[in-house]
Structures are given as C-alpha cells and as structure tokens.
Amino acid sequence: MEYNLTELMACVSSRLLEDGKSVLVGTGLPLVSASLAQRLHAPNLLVVFEAGAIGAKIPTIPISVGDSRTCHKAVMAASMDYVMSCAQLGLVDYAFLGAAQMDMYGNLNTTVIGDYAAPKVRLPGSGGGNDAGSLCRSTIILMRHDKRRFVEKLDFLTTPGYLTGPGAREKAGLPAGSGPHRVISQLGVMDFDDETKRMRLISVHPGVTVEEVVENTGFELLIRDEVSETRPPTEAELKLLREEIDSAGIVLGKG
C-alpha cells in the first residue's frame, strides 16, 4: 500500500508508545501518532495536553492543544498548572517535540532563525516545548531531515536536549535521567548514544540509504554498527489514519 512520508512518521512514532504509559502531546503529527497507538497496541495510553486535559479518547484532530476535543471522554479537565506539575513530579513518560533546528545533542530551536535582535524569521517561541523537554522523562522528536534543520549550531536554544553532552542536563539543574529518546525524520530513526549523548542513526526507512541520511545531516552523525530498515506502515495503520483519525487530511494531507 502506498503511503506518504508524514504517514510513515506517524506510524513509526506511534509504535514507540507503550500501553500503560503517559504522553504529553502537541496537536498535529504527535496527536495523530498517539491516537494511532491508542487504537492499536496501547488502548490505555494516557494522553495529556499542556492546557489541562488529562486522559482523553481523541475523536478527531483538535486544532489546538487547548480546544474542546482535547477533553473528549477525558478523566479530568484540569489546568496547565496541574498538568505541568504532574510532569515536574515525574508522572509524564513521553513527550513529542518538533523544531525548526536541532543539533547533535537534540537541543531544539523554535524561537528565531538568524540573529535574535534582528531575526530573519521569527518563530512562535517555546510554547510548552521547553517545559516538555525539561520535565518529561523521554522526548520523541519529529522533524523533517535536511541540512538546514539538522545543524551544527543552533541560532537559539529554545528547548534543552542533552545540552553539551553527558551530565550537562543534571549540571544545569534539569531532572535526573530525563532527555531525548528518539528522533524520527522522513529518512530514518535516530537514538542518542549512552556514552556521548550524541545522535546516532539506528534505522533507515524503506528505500533510503545510510549515505542519504548522512548527506542530509549538518553535523557528524553517529551510526550504529548494524543499521536496520524501518518496518513500513501496515494496511491496518494506514486505514485507521485515513478513515478515522484524520479523514479531513488536516495533518496527513501535507504529505
């Protein structure tokens, strides 16, 4: 079955979410991914939204992380203080993040491109991104893979990944044992090497070569000894995505 790259990223990221865990989601692709996991292997995935909704069964894609769809069949309509306190308390396992730029330690920029004082592009800023990247246990980063986005040096460090390497998060005062877990792009899947905390290629998507991934990365990417091939989306996954989760193509129609 044919699929587009956004659908592939949704499927690959949804497989990382385990039943009985909690995930802080933004709307868009992260929510599609969490909804897919809820409908397949993780029916008891606890979905939380930064604006206050806890434990929703998502009927259709919300446009905002605060809109009424985020409360559908939820267990609690709380507040931002409540959700963010839960994250600070260690109750949120996963969070999804995206960015305009990322470096080899998984640090993210969603604030400006160019000089801060006279930006070439002004982006929205942290939103809840810094909070998710600071407080949740493991973050999953979804991003388009090219040299403009996977960069040696960020124009602005909005959200902490592993900062400058091993021990840097803890030294800065961030919660122990937290940080980026996986990066999923349209080319492959990366994790972070235990020893160096640097990004490492672990699998390439069907039809993509290791060289292609390296060529599209603006920093020196570590490569696992055995790079596997990502399992493509199944028919069941695609059917759910297209017919139930995002039938209007709000997220997945973007290709």
Binding site: T27, G28, E50, A51, G52, A53, P59, T60, I61, I63, S64, V65, G66, D67, S68, T70, C71, A77, A78, S79, M80, D81, M84, A87, Q88, T111, Y116, A118, P119, K120, V121, R122, L123, P124, G125, S126, G127, G128, G129, N130, D131, S134, L135, F156, L157, T158, T159, P160, L163, R169, A172, G173, L174, P175, S247, A248, G249, I250, G253, K254
Partner: protein, 337 residues
C-alpha cells in the same frame, strides 16, 4: 541563596509582595456590588495606553475576543502583551497597531494552521519588540507566584536554555538540594480579561472544561474584567459553590457578551470558526489586507452584537455549535488533501 545566572529579559508586571498586598487591599472590594457595565465602559475605565496585560483562555480557546476588538476600536496604543500562547488575539492587536511589546511564550503562529504573517512581519521589521522569552509553564507559574503573594515560583523548567537567558528569571543554588533551580518572578498584569460560561452580576464566575491558567491569572490581575456568555442569578452560584472558578472580590467589571470568544472556541458551546480565521490569515498577508479586515469587522461596527451579525449571526453560531457537538465534520480551508 547564591545567584548563578540572571536572564536579560525585561521584567514586566513585577511588584514587591508588600506593594501587591497594599494594592489588592485598597483596590479589590470585598463587598458585593453590581459590576455590570458595557464593554465600551469597561475598556475605557480599566485599560490604559502603555499597560501590560494578559488575556484568559489559551490560543484561540475561551479568549475574550470581544474585548480585543473593543481595544482596537478605542485605539489603545503602546501596549505590552503577555503572549501566554496568544494566537488570533495578539495577531489582530498587532495588526491594529495596539501592541508594540511582547513577552513571548507562544505568539506569531496559529498552531496547526501555520505561522502568522502579521506577527512575523511586525517582529522581523522591528515594529514590534519581543522584550522577553518564557515557556508556557513558566508564564503560568509567574501568575501562580503572584496569586500566592510570593515574589517568585521555584521551578525546574527553562534551565540550560536561551529561553532562560532571554527571560526575566534567575537561577540560584537551591538551599535544600544544592542543585540549580529556576526562579520565575511574580507577574501582576495591569489588566486581564477572562471570558467565562456564566457569572452573576457581582462577578462570581463559572468555567466549563479546562481552566488553563485562569484561576491563577484572575488572582494576579490588578484589574479583572469578566466577559460572560450568560448572566445567572446569584442563587445558582450559591447552590453550586464548588463550580466557582473566580469569586466576586477579584472582579472589577462584568460584561455580558454571548459568543464573545468568536472566532475562537468556547468549550461546550461553539467551536472555532475556521472560515473566519482563514479569511484573516489570507488578508493579513499584506498591510492593506489587515486594514480591510479591521475596517470590515472592527471599525465599521459599533459593538460586538453587530460584529456577530456580520460574521453570520445566529445561523453561523448554530453551525459552530453543531461542530462543537461533533455533529458535522470539520472543514478547514487551510488544510490540504
């Protein structure tokens, strides 16, 4: 406590806790009085040029858009806004030339709909200045510190980032653990509008669904104007006191404004008007388009009820109510498939 790092961002909305206590004691009446007034009067009395302000709600959810349009109509200027995830509100305020400084957690974007042409243009050209960065949780904890009458809230967000470097926060060695800790300064906005589902004439207000950060924000506000979908009898408040999100003694004015969150979402009542927001996103690509929008929906109408007629009246609001109840599928003009 040893200060390790100080953010370079401008400290907005700050008061010493003793000054705040004095201000609250002198300006917030603990006696019951009828606070109903027109929106025009509330904006005239409680908003001033140069003020630093915040809107209740989040993004395009339960934001008092009626108040936003009235501020533009009254030509407020040089205002600083707390962009605690501000979407359509800050966009039209920037377009209208009302806001020229922003403390930014999230702005210049429309979440799933994409980036905001107006906001970006204004910052990139230097017309609007971002005077400080912060995160969403950081902002609400600034309001929480104020709501508790404390000078700051200790947190573990923003550490190690440029977001902190450009914020008004400080990092100290925590005296208990010895680990670095981020202190977010209390924030008392000059005025705040909170849009609610229902309230009585004294300002006792109920909110359905998530409260976001409005309980804290209502306590932190120096002036608080409640705009409400519906006015209810005080007996209804007293029969369900567990439902009160904002008590009367925090409130300076009550304005009854059905559909006051349009084109945003009002949980349980109506969904966001994607057709209207798409019209804004299309028009706001140019300065002329911004003028056209403001003329059509703000300057050429006298008040909010007239605006509601202009955007499609009862028929449009009934469609948005059905959309909210998931009875019709969402059609978003900005989505592609």
């Amino acid at each position: 406590m040893n200060v390790i790092q100080e953010g370079e961002g401008e400290l907005l909305g700050w008061m010493d806790p003793d000054e705040a206590r004095r201000w609250m004691a002198e300006n917030k009446s603990r006696s019951l009085s009828d606070k109903r007034m027109t929106l025009r009067e509330a904006v005239e009395r409680f908003t001033r040029d140069g003020d630093y302000f915040a809107m209740g709600g989040f993004g395009h959810i339960r934001v008092s858009m009626a108040a936003i349009y009235e501020m533009i109509r009254q030509g407020r200027k040089n205002m600083a806004m707390a962009a605690k995830t501000a979407v359509h509100d800050i966009d039209v305020l920037i377009g209208g030339g009302i806001v020229d400084r922003v403390e930014c957690a999230y702005a210049f974007g429309h979440e799933l709909r994409g980036l905001s042409p107006t906001g970006r243009r204004a910052v990139e050209s230097g017309k609007v200045k971002v005077v400080g960065e912060i995160s969403n949780a950081g902002f609400q904890w600034r309001f929480k510190a104020a709501a508790m009458g404390l000078p700051f809230m200790p947190t573990r967000v923003m550490l190690g980032s440029d977001t902190l470097r450009k914020s008004s926060a400080k990092v100290v060695d925590d005296p208990f653990t010895g680990k670095p800790l981020c202190l977010l300064p209390a924030c008392y906005p000059d005025f705040v509008f909170v849009h609610v589902h229902r309230c009585d004439m004294y300002g006792n207000a109920q909110i359905d669904g998530i409260t976001i950060e409005d309980i804290e924000l209502a306590m932190a506000a120096k002036r608080l104007i409640i705009t409400t979908e519906e006015l209810i009898d005080t007996e209804e408040i007293r029969n369900h006191p567990d439902r009160t999100a904002v008590p009367f003694f925090l409130v300076d004015a009550v304005c009854v404004l059905p559909y006051g969150s349009h084109p945003g979402n009002m949980p349980g009542l109506y969904y966001s008007d994607e057709e209207h927001i798409a019209e804004w996103l299309r028009l706001s690509r140019t300065d002329e388009g911004v003028e056209e929008y403001l003329e059509k929906y703000v300057h050429s109408v006298d008040d909010f009820p007239e605006y509601v007629e202009k955007i499609g009246g009862a028929e449009k609001m009934e469609y948005l109510a059905r959309l909210e109840r998931l009875e019709v599928p969402l059609e978003a003009p900005w989505a592609r498939r």
